[in-house]
Structures are given as structure tokens and as C-alpha cells.
């Protein structure tokens, strides 16, 4: 609860009498101040006739047939009431306030009655006080500045000789106490707790409860008076005393210990046990009986306090075991009131260090609750099971079937509890069955549950998935069923899982997602399922070749129900569906970005000329799209169908497998059914390696160790790197140098560290940041000293050096430097490949044009978890005066300790 600050300045009061209680500030002065304040604004008017009675006003208002009519009656009466207030009519003030309170309840403004309420409170007549305090509780809340006035009124009445006047003041204080009021009146309340009068005592105890809720610092002053409350016989005093102690103990561990250790004549736990025992064993007492149970209100409060006292305290728990068992077995359960007590007892048994037999008893009670016909009892059963599931999971598991049944309850309160409880019960053994129910629940659940439920399903699946295939299937189902309620991170995490799956899983994913995508597109439901469309677009874009290829027919598409609804689409049909989605006006821009890039990728996955052409036409239309982002992508991608067509296949290569953002917490005890095939590879790197492997074998002993050339300053001003190309800003034929760099393909395109770096992010990153050259490297290199360096290629004045440096973990940073002594080289391109077990990330080169005495650097990051000896094949291509040159070599004499 947040309570607004008080305003420090209050204009009616002189500053020296500000806010704190002033003994000189008695009722007479209050009246005077109030009256003066009113007279300043209210000119004297004519004397009013006898006002309408409350009863008559209510009749009039009820007789109004329309809202307008009601308004006019109310406005007329309000105007009249205001005028009597102005006139200082003290005889009818009480009646007028009562009417105003009724009007207030109908929703009309009544703040102008606030000061009048204070005047009523200040009146000596009990009727005035009673109505005045009622008005104060309804019209003032603690934000009101008049609180200073009411504080003084209250202080006055708390000292009254009439118990009912004191009672009214305490009641008002309990309802509207602000922190300031609490501080000012705490000592009065403390005095009243010690009053011999039970009527005042109980009210004062609850006032103290409110005061320490507002100002916990004040707790200490109430401690001595509170302790004695438990020795009373009066139930009102007992229940308020227990309430107060409960609040204190919950608030501060120190107070909890205080009550446990030194509570006067008797220790608190035996004392409470005694009171509870007396309640149970005492015969029928008409005064406190509720359907045969003696004072259930007091019993429940005591049970709750026992729970707090027994928590983590073996000795206290021991002292209450017997009474809890007695309550649990002897309470009549045919009525709500008996179940009320049992419910509280079960909570206490589960929370304290109780005996195991008692816990069994408690869980059995909950089992009975769960089968009860009364919805309310079922609700509290679920509620309690949820609170105790962490204490004793296996006991709760026994009721799993019943709990899952509750997911189908028409009542949202029960469904919510059942859902939370079901997720708490999911484990490795029951995941398949539970998930089936929960997915069915997700599909039919209310909108407000979908976000929470889908995230919980994703989490549970990640944690307990019995197999990779099951995990993927579950994610696909969540995508399908949660629609747009799915949280964004699920999209990226699903893509990451697909990306790092085995090839046949990727094909499976593409096929499954295609079915969903196609159905959504055809049925026009794509707008409601944008996360699905995004994941599907990404997957089909990456693995579209597997989708349309007959080669993947071997993959079984039979689902859990034995249905195989997969129909292999033709390339044209896939493109048609993309077109339909891309031209839809309903999909979000980000979904369309996924689709557009995916479509571009498909142009390299699909083989026929007709599909390529079709894709080109669709992409071209985006060149004039109204949305700037999409338009830019459209223009950029269309370039890949024209001038830079030869770059397209390499540029739109498959993404490398993405690293999970956080390691999944797979339960270690779970069986991994190992759907993962052993030849799980990273296709992108193979591609490049194969390319190089396919060429002539290279000699590898020709690397000479030569002194390093003096590193000249980096000079490549053109730095036409790939990002510039894609930025599409200055793509004119006059910049041919830009082109070949693109062949560096994905390794360059994707900043590897970007979280959830979708291809989109990589390609669509702001183009204004070409990787800066690395002048710092030259210095570092000298400073590092321990660095290994070799010249690996030297021909015609062109020289390439590779240096290697250890990095954190099983990784190393390689830097390739190319220098040319005589010629200017254009279209300089550096490529590299490593064995399959080693992962290679290539940074952007510092440039593609190499002038004499200039230098191009290319940084490569090598991760080698298995620490196999590093072999590196490199290929360098460039143009000298328009003549293309291609050279390659292999390096396998890296220092042996490079990865240690």
C-alpha cells in the first residue's frame, strides 16, 4: 500500500500551530478557526426553511425515473445543503450531513461536507458526534488536510467519560489513521488498551494494530499493554489481542522472540493452546456459537498465530502438535464454519515443524476438500495445496488427476489456482501427460492466462523435455495455441533451438512449421499468430530446401494422434503463401521483415528459375513499400538479384548454429532419448571447408619464418565492407570494389555476440559502422610479446602474415595482415577454413583495397573446445590492374599450447 504524502502547509492554521498536537488547541479554538475560515468565503444569506428529511430525500431520489431527473433532484438538494452550511445552521447540520452521505454514496461529489463533519464531531450532542464521525470516515481519507483538526477532535474524545464517545473516536482512528495521526495519538491508544473497560480495550487494541501497520516504529510502546491482553476472558479482547500480536510478530522477528520468551506469567504458546482447548472442549455457549462451533473467528485467529510461532521452532511446534491434531480430528465438517477451521489448521500443520502423522492427516483433509461439492472448499483446497506443494510434493502428486480436472472448471478462480498448481506438479516423469493437458488448457484459456501459461509451458518443456523432438513439438504447439500472447523471447529461444538442432530436426521443424504457417495463412488467422509466423518464416527461410526436397520424405510427420497432415508443397505454392502474407495489411512490420528476408533466402534454397523469378518480383515490390524499413530491405535485396546476383548464394547462406543465451537447465535425471544424431554439424562451416577441400591439396611446409614488416598505419579509407553494401545508400556501379567482400558471407555478416542475433539483426544492422581498422593491434602485438607470428604467403610483393594469440577459454585470436609493396590491390578478399571440430568466427576485414605500404587486417576468432591441433586453410583473392589473382595455403604449425 502506498500512502500519499501529507501536504506540509495548511493554510487555515497559523504556522506556529502546525500539524502536531497542541494542548492549547482545544475544541473552542477549532470551532473558531473553522468558523472563521468559512465566514471568509460565505456571505450571510437568508435563513432557510426546515430541511427535507433524509427519508424523504431518499424517496425523492428513488422516484426519479431517469438519470437526469435524479441528477436534478440531487443538485437541488446539494445547493440547498451548501447554503445551510454557509449559514452555519447547527440545528439541522446533522440531518444535512446524513443526506450528503447518501448523495455521496450515489457517486456525487460531497467534499464540501468535510468541515461540517468536523463541526458535528465537535458538538456535545451524541447524535451529532455519531453522524459526524460517520461522515468523517466516509468523506475524509488520510490525504485530507483537515486531518490536523480531526486529530485534535479525536484526542479530545479519546479522553471522554462516555465509553461510546471514546468508541466512536477509536473506530474513526482505526479507519482513517494517517502516519501523522498515528504518531500523535499512539500514547492515547496505549493508555486505552490498559482500560478496564472491555468495550474500549478491544477497540484500542485494533487501533494499535492499525497504528503499527502505518508506523511500525511505534510497535515497542504497545508491547507491555499487549502482553496482558491474552489473559482476558472477553472474546472481543482476546481476538483483537491475538490480531495485534500476530501483526507484531509478522512484522518483526525480534518481537516474535520477545513474545516467545518472556510473556509474563505464562508462555505464549501454552497460553494460546489453553485458550484454544477451552474453546473446543467448552460446552455450548449461545453467545459465541456458530453452527455448533464455538467462536470460529477466535479459533482461526489463534491457529494463525500458532502457525507464526511454530514456524522453524521445533520446541513451539512440539507444544502445539496435540492441539492441532485435536482440532483436525474433532471439527465438524458438514458446514462451512468447520471447514474454515480445518483449512486454517491444515495451513498451520504444513507450516510448522509438525509430526509426520499430523502431516498425513492434513494432506488427507485437503484430499477430502478437493472432492467436496462446494466450489469454495475446492478453491481453498487448491490454494492450500499450492502453498504446501513445496513442502511435500509427492503427497500433492497423488491428487494430480483431480487437479487437472479443475483446469476444466467453468470458474476462473478455480482454473487459475489449478493452473498454477499443475505447473508446480510437472516433473520428468509426468511431463508428457501434464503437458498434453496444459496445452489443451492453453488453447481454450482466457486471454489473461495465455501469456503466463505459455511462458510456464516453455519453461517446463525446456526443463523436463524427454527428447529433442518432443521439445520442438511442444514449442510448435505453444506457438500455435498462444498466438500473439506469447512472450517475445520465446520466438528467439525457439529459433535458437531449431538452429542448433540436428539437420533432420531442422527439416522436421521446417515441415511442421510450414503446415502451421500454411493453415494460418489460408484461414486468415496469421494476424493472431505472429510469433508463429516469425519462427516459421525464419525456419523455412533457413531450411526451405529440405522442405521441398523429396529427400526428407523419410522423416516421419506422424503426430501424437497418429495423423500425418503434412503435404509436401511445391516451390511455387510456398512462394504464393509468402506473397499472401507479405501483402497482408494486418501483419506487423517485424513479422514482415522476417518474411521478406526468409523469402530472399528461399531464392537460394529453391532451384527452379521460375521460383527465383517469382521471388524477385515480390521483393521488387517492396522497393516502393510505404514503410521505410521494409522499403530499404526491398531495395537492398533486389540488388542481389541484379548487379550483385553472384553474391546472393554466399550472402544468404545458412546461419551458423546459435549459442543458447543461457544454458538450459535440463534435469540431469531425465532420460535423454537422444534424438540428436551424432553427425550434428554446423553446415555453414562445412560449406566453406568443402569448398577449399575440393581444391588441390596444398603444400604446407612452405611457410617461412620471416621478420615482420614494419606495420604501417592503416589506410583503407574506402572500407567498403559488407555493411556498406547492404546499406544500399550509395550503391552505384562506380564502386565495384565493394563487391567481393560479400563472399565472406555469414561469418562477417553476423556479429556473433549479439544476443538472439537473428539473421535480420545481422543484415539489417545500421550500416554506418564499418568495422574500424585495428591500428591498436600493431601496438598490442609488440607489447604482447608471447605472440606467435608467421608469414604464410608471399608472392609478387604481396605478403600475408598470420599471428596467433591465446584468448580466454579454449579460444585464440588470429590476425591476418596483408601488405603489398608495389601494387594497388582491389577486391581483396580473405577466406579461411578450419576442421569441423573447431569453430571459426571471422570479423570484418579492415578494407578491401590495399595500396602500396598499406595494410589490410582481418581478425579471426577460433574456438577449439576439443583442443585438437589447429589447421587453417586460407585463400586470398584480389585484382591487380584488373587481373584476378587467387592464392591459397594451409597453416598447421601453430604452437601446440595455443589453446591451453
Amino acid at each position: 500500500m502506498a500512502y500519499p504524502m501529507y501536504e506540509v502547509d495548511w493554510s487555515v492554521l497559523p504556522p506556529e500551530q502546525n500539524r502536531r498536537f497542541n494542548p492549547a488547541f482545544n475544541i473552542a479554538t477549532i470551532k473558531q478557526v473553522v468558523n472563521e475560515a468559512i465566514e471568509r468565503v460565505a456571505p450571510v444569506s437568508v435563513r432557510m426553511p426546515t430541511p427535507t428529511r433524509l427519508r424523504d430525500l431518499i424517496r425523492q431520489i428513488r422516484a426519479a425515473r431517469t438519470a437526469a431527473e435524479e441528477r436534478s433532484v440531487v443538485n437541488k438538494e446539494c445547493a440547498y445543503i451548501r447554503s445551510t452550511f454557509r449559514e452555519e445552521d447547527s440545528v439541522w447540520r446533522c440531518r444535512n450531513i446524513a443526506k450528503l452521505l447518501y448523495i455521496h454514496m450515489l457517486g456525487y461529489p460531497a467534499h464540501f461536507g468535510q468541515l461540517e463533519c468536523l463541526k458535528l464531531i465537535a458538538s456535545p450532542r451524541f447524535t451529532d458526534k455519531r453522524v459526524g464521525y460517520l461522515g468523517a470516515m466516509l468523506l475524509l481519507d488520510e490525504r485530507q488536510d483537515v486531518h490536523l483538526l480531526i486529530t485534535n477532535c479525536l484526542k479530545n474524545d479519546l479522553n471522554s467519560n462516555t465509553q461510546f464517545v471514546v468508541g466512536l473516536a477509536l473506530c474513526t482512528l482505526g479507519a482513517i489513521a494517517s502516519p501523522e495521526m498515528a504518531r500523535d495519538l499512539a500514547s492515547e491508544v496505549e493508555r486505552l488498551i490498559k482500560s478496564p473497560n472491555a468495550y474500549i480495550k478491544k477497540k484500542a487494541a485494533l487501533c494499535a494494530f492499525r497504528i503499527i501497520r502505518r508506523v511500525p516504529d511505534l510497535m515497542e510502546m504497545f508491547l507491555p499493554a499487549t502482553r496482558s491482553l491474552l489473559t482476558e476472558k472477553n472474546h472481543g479482547v482476546l481476538i483483537t489481542g491475538v490480531t495485534l500480536i500476530t501483526e507484531m510478530c509478522e512484522n518483526s522477528p525480534d518481537t516474535l522472540n520477545h513474545f516467545k520468551k518472556e510473556s509474563g506469567q505464562r508462555e505464549i504458546v501454552p497460553n494460546l493452546v489453553r485458550i484454544l482447548k477451552n474453546l473446543i472442549l467448552a460446552g455450548y455457549s449461545p453467545e459465541h456459537d456458530v453452527s455448533g462451533v464455538s467462536d470460529p473467528f477466535l479459533q482461526v485467529k489463534i491457529l494463525r498465530l500458532l502457525r507464526i510461532l511454530g514456524k522453524n521452532d521445533a520446541e513451539a511446534s512440539e507444544a502445539m502438535n496435540d492441539i492441532l491434531a485435536q482440532v483436525a480430528t474433532n471439527t465438524e465438517t458438514s458446514k462451512n464454519v468447520g471447514n474454515t477451521i480445518l483449512y486454517e489448521t491444515v495451513l498451520s500443520i504444513m507450516d510448522i515443524k509438525s509430526e509426520s502423522s499430523l502431516r498425513v492427516l492434513a494432506v488427507n483433509i485437503l484430499g477430502r476438500f478437493l472432492l467436496n461439492n462446494d466450489k469454495n472448499i475446492r478453491y481453498v483446497a487448491l490454494n492450500t495445496l499450492l502453498r504446501t506443494v513445496h513442502v511435500d510434493t509427492s503427497a500433492v502428486q497423488r491428487h494430480r488427476t483431480t487437479i487437472l480436472e479443475c483446469l476444466k472448471d467453468p470458474d476462473i478462480s478455480i482454473r487459475r489456482r489449478a493452473m498454477e498448481l499443475s505447473f508446480a506438479l510437472v516433473n520428468g516423469q509426468n511431463i508428457r501427460g501434464m503437458m498434453k493437458e496444459l496445452l489443451a488448457f492453453l488453447e481454450r484459456s482466457d486471454a489473461e492466462f495465455k501469456a503466463h501459461c505459455s511462458s510456464a509451458v516453455v519453461l517446463a518443456a525446456e526443463r523436463y523435455a524427454p527428447s529433442d523432438k518432443w521439445h520442438l513439438d511442444t514449442l510448435f504447439k505453444v506457438l500455435l495455441k498462444a498466438g500473439n500472447y506469447l512472450r517475445d523471447d520465446t520466438v528467439s529461444s525457439t529459433i535458437q533451438i531449431i538452429s542448433s538442432a540436428a539437420t533432420e530436426r531442422q527439416a522436421y521443424g521446417a515441415m511442421r512449421l510450414w503446415t502451421s504457417l500454411e493453415q494460418s495463412a489460408v484461414s486468415g488467422l496469421a494476424t493472431e499468430k505472429q510469433p508463429l509466423i516469425q519462427v516459421a518464416a525464419w525456419t523455412i527461410g533457413e531450411y526451405g530446401d529440405l522442405l521441398v526436397s523429396e529427400a526428407s520424405s523419410a522423416i516421419s510427420m506422424v503426430d501424437e494422434d497418429g495423423v500425418d497432415d503434412f503435404v509436401r508443397p511445391t516451390e511455387e505454392y510456398v512462394i504464393d503463401i509468402y506473397q499472401k502474407l507479405l501483402w497482408s495489411t494486418q501483419l506487423s512490420i517485424s513479422t514482415k521483415e522476417f518474411l521478406l528476408l526468409s523469402l530472399a533466402k528461399l531464392s537460394t534454397r529453391f532451384t527452379t528459375q521460375a521460383s527465383q523469378e517469382k521471388i524477385r518480383v515480390i521483393i521488387d515490390t517492396f522497393g516502393s513499400h510505404i514503410h521505410i524499413e521494409l522499403q530499404q530491405r526491398g531495395v537492398e535485396l533486389s540488388q542481389l538479384f541484379r548487379q550483385y546476383g553472384h553474391l546472393r548464394p554466399a550472402l544468404l547462406e545458412r546461419m551458423p548454429a546459435m549459442e543458447p543465451v543461457a544454458a538450459p537447465h535440463r534435469d540431469e535425471q531425465e532420460l535423454d532419448l537422444s534424438d540428436t544424431s551424432p553427425d550434428h554439424t554446423k553446415p555453414d562451416q562445412d560449406a566453406l571447408l568443402d569448398l577449399i577441400n575440393g581444391s588441390d591439396s596444398l603444400t604446407n611446409g612452405d611457410v617461412e619464418h620471416q621478420p615482420e614488416q614494419i606495420a604501417t598505419t592503416n589506410n583503407n579509407t574506402s572500407s567498403n565492407d559488407i555493411l556498406d553494401l547492404l546499406s544500399g545508400l550509395d550503391l552505384t556501379p562506380s564502386v565495384p570494389a565493394a563487391a567481393p567482400a560479400v563472399l565472406l558471407a555469414n561469418n562477417n555478416v553476423e556479429p556473433s555476440a549479439a544476443p538472439a542475433a537473428l539473421l535480420l539483426d545481422g543484415l539489417f544492422a545500421p550500416p554506418a559502422t564499418p568495422q574500424p581498422p585495428h591500428p591498436a593491434d600493431a601496438n598490442e602485438r609488440n607489447a604482447a610479446g608471447a605472440e606467435w607470428e608467421r608469414a604464410v604467403l608471399e608472392r609478387g610483393g604481396v605478403r600475408v602474415c598470420v599471428s596467433a594469440r591465446r584468448a580466454a577459454g579454449a579460444a585464440a585470436t588470429l590476425t591476418a595482415r596483408a601488405t603489398s609493396q608495389l601494387h594497388t590491390l582491389t577486391d581483396f578478399l580473405f577466406q579461411a577454413a578450419v576442421p569441423k571440430k573447431i569453430q571459426l568466427d571471422m570479423m570484418s576485414p579492415s578494407g578491401t583495397t590495399l595500396s602500396p605500404q598499406g595494410e589490410i587486417t582481418q581478425v579471426l576468432k577460433v574456438t577449439n573446445p576439443t583442443k585438437t591441433p589447429l589447421r587453417l586453410r586460407i585463400r586470398v583473392s584480389y585484382n591487380i590492374d584488373g587481373t584476378p589473382v587467387l592464392e591459397q595455403t594451409e597453416i598447421n604449425n601453430f604452437p601446440a599450447d595455443l589453446f591451453n
Partner: protein
């Protein structure tokens, strides 16, 4: 602790409101409106509890009137139902076979009774007799103090 209590009719008309937490008037109105709509939309067979914002709403319908309490999470929902029932019994005893109309015309009495039963959001008296005795004594005090006119 009870945060507030509302009494409203099946038509959604507010009949009584008691707030034990401080909210600006505007917020009170908003909460009241939303809660009335939510509760009225529930079917009769559903349970009496509703998790609504950060409070637990416990409500029960008596004839044409809904009694609706907003409790904190730790409070015993079933006990709150007993509390509501106790309040209804007291109104019934005091006003004699209470109906909605009685509460409309005697709303201030309904408040007085509630204030003798609950203080600061917590139950202060578990004996029906004591509550009614206190109310009767105060009514008497009121008559003595104002024989001269029938105020309310």
C-alpha cells in the same frame, strides 16, 4: 485485514461502502465500478472468491444484495464468508427481516452496526449480543441527546 467492503444490488447500485485503506475518491470509484461489473458477471454456481488485482475478493449474495469484501492474500477466505454472514445476521436482528430497502433507508444504521463488528479492517467482536447491545445503548444515547427534533 479487510481493505474495503461494498454492498451493492443486482442492478449494480452501490448500497454501502466502507474503506479501511486510503485511496483518492477517484480511485475508489474506479475500483467500485470495476469490481461490481466483475462480480455481477459471475455465474451463481461459481465459487465466492475472486483474485482481483492484488486483493482477494470474497463475496456472497443475499437476496438482491451482494456483500463483497476485499481481503489480503493471507486472510482466510472461508472465515470472511462467516464474517459476511455474521453481518447479515446482525442487520437482520436489528432491522427485523432485513431487505435491500431497509438498508437503503437506514444506511447510517448499517454503518453503525458494521463499525461495532469490524474496526480498522479486523473483527472486533465475536458476540452478536454484545454488538447489538452496544448499538442499542448508543441509539438510546442519541434519543436522550436530541429529543427536541427528529434529525435523521
Amino acid at each position: 485485514m479487510m481493505q474495503f467492503m461494498l454492498l451493492f444490488s443486482r442492478q449494480g447500485k452501490l448500497r454501502l461502502q466502507k474503506w479501511y485503506v486510503a485511496h483518492p475518491d477517484k480511485l475508489k470509484k474506479k475500483i467500485t465500478r470495476e469490481l461490481i461489473t466483475t462480480v455481477l458477471a459471475r455465474k451463481p454456481k461459481m465459487c465466492s472468491f475472486l483474485e482481483w488485482k492484488d486483493v482477494k475478493v470474497v463475496y456472497k449474495r443475499y437476496a438482491s444484495l451482494y456483500f463483497c469484501c476485499a481481503m489480503e492474500q493471507e486472510d482466510n477466505e472461508l472465515l470472511t464468508l462467516e464474517l459476511i454472514h455474521r453481518y447479515v445476521e446482525l442487520l437482520d436482528k436489528y432491522l427485523g427481516s432485513v431487505c435491500e430497502l431497509d438498508i437503503i433507508f437506514n444506511f447510517e444504521k448499517a454503518y453503525f452496526i458494521l463499525d461495532e463488528l469490524v474496526l480498522g479492517g479486523e473483527l472486533q467482536e465475536t458476540s452478536k449480543k454484545n454488538v447489538l447491545k452496544a448499538i442499542a445503548a448508543q441509539d438510546l444515547l442519541q434519543e436522550v441527546s436530541s429529543q427536541d427534533n427528529e434529525l435523521v
